[in-house]
């Protein structure tokens, strides 16, 4: 009798210690409020940060937590990622489909088990016309997809891209580009859906529906789309990309 009572008390005690933000049964707003209340300023800032573990672009070697072969280094992560991390760019680098899935699982497990609050990371990939990665399927360039005038086909294509990317562990795609082709000298004109806002809008919506699925939530075979570029980046001056 004493033993049974004791185990009951223990169960109650454990239940009380599951943080509200970890309880998927609670409303999202309640979980967010609970989590925000627990986060330090450093942890909040870390969620706003992203890293691209690309040795050619990352000037500060102290920020690396992946070796030159793309292998995750837990001891480096302990130094760099202790406050968590919002985004990691292109985990597909140096990884084919199977290796990328193992890599993203390894990093995700480390984030959940070794950061104070266990907040998972977001991985994003380039997907302008297919997953731009080792072993990814490449579809025709964006301007060619728009030239089909076929919203259903475009939606099917990006649904297929989403399934590939999600299977490899990433949850977000940096596409579609909704910039208008304003100046053919711009070296990224082929990334657009053309010069007409109506066609760009219709093909763009089809691409986003393909990436994200029917909704309202994004299921396990879809990813977040990223409508870009922010701040009218596709309005070039003299045809330059960042001028």
């Amino acid at each position: 009798m004493t033993a049974a009572l004791c185990s009951c008390v223990c169960l109650v005690s454990v239940a009380q210690h599951v943080a509200a933000y970890r309880d998927a049964k609670l409303p999202v707003e309640e979980r967010v409020a609970d989590l925000m209340g627990r986060m330090t300023l450093e942890e909040k800032v870390a969620q706003l940060e992203g890293t691209w573990q690309n040795r050619g672009n990352l000037k500060d070697a102290t920020r690396l937590f992946v070796d030159e072969k793309g292998v995750f280094l837990p001891e480096r992560a302990g130094a760099v990622l202790k406050n968590g991390l919002g985004q990691m760019s292109r985990p597909s680098e140096q990884h084919g489909p199977g290796a990328m899935a193992e890599f993203t699982n390894t990093v995700q497990r480390w984030m959940k088990e070794n950061t104070r609050l266990g907040i998972p990371i977001l991985f994003h990939e380039e997907c302008l016309h297919g997953h731009a990665a080792l072993g990814g399927t490449s579809f025709p360039q964006a301007i060619a997809l728009a030239s089909t005038w076929d919203e259903g086909l475009v939606q099917d294509i990006f649904s297929s891209v989403a399934a590939e990317v999600r299977a490899r562990g990433a949850q977000q795609c940096l596409a579609p580009a909704l910039d208008l082709a304003r100046d053919p000298r711009w070296g990224r004109t082929e990334e657009t859906y053309g010069e007409d806002p109506y066609l760009v809008a219709h093909i763009g919506v089809a691409a986003i529906r393909g990436f994200q699925g029917k909704g309202p939530n994004i299921d396990r075979s879809h990813v977040m789309a990223t409508a870009k570029h922010f701040a009218v980046h596709g309005q070039p001056e003299g045809g330059t990309n960042v001028g």
Binding site: T148, W149, D150, D196, P197, Y198, L199, H202
Partner: protein
């Protein structure tokens, strides 16, 4: 305004055509594009087959953003154009009046 188009496959093979609808406001307070796409429909046709495509042009389709960034329809003459590409077009006129 309802725009109705008959699209016929005059060739010997089954094929697709994209019916495209454009507008042009001839005189406006802010210069508008020469051709603005306002509808499209891709359809498959057997040899000799004709299909009818319908587009609706209402206030939303005729409007644009003025200098105050308000969406407005201006009174005046519009050209309504349709075809299988943006160059080879048939057209008709539409007059929008203030009431």
């Amino acid at each position: 305004m309802l725009v109705s188009l008959d699209v016929t496959n005059t060739g010997a093979r089954r094929g697709d055509e994209v019916a495209q609808l454009y507008i042009h406001e001839k005189v406006s307070l802010v210069t508008r594009a020469v051709k603005e796409l306002r509808g499209f429909h891709r359809l498959s046709l057997n040899p000799g087959e004709t299909k009818t495509v319908e587009f609706t042009l209402g206030p939303k389709e005729l409007s644009y953003l003025n200098r105050e960034m308000q969406r407005v329809v201006e009174a005046g003459a519009f050209e309504v154009m349709a075809g299988g590409n943006s160059v080879d077009l048939i057209s008709t006129n539409l007059n929008v009046v203030n009431r």
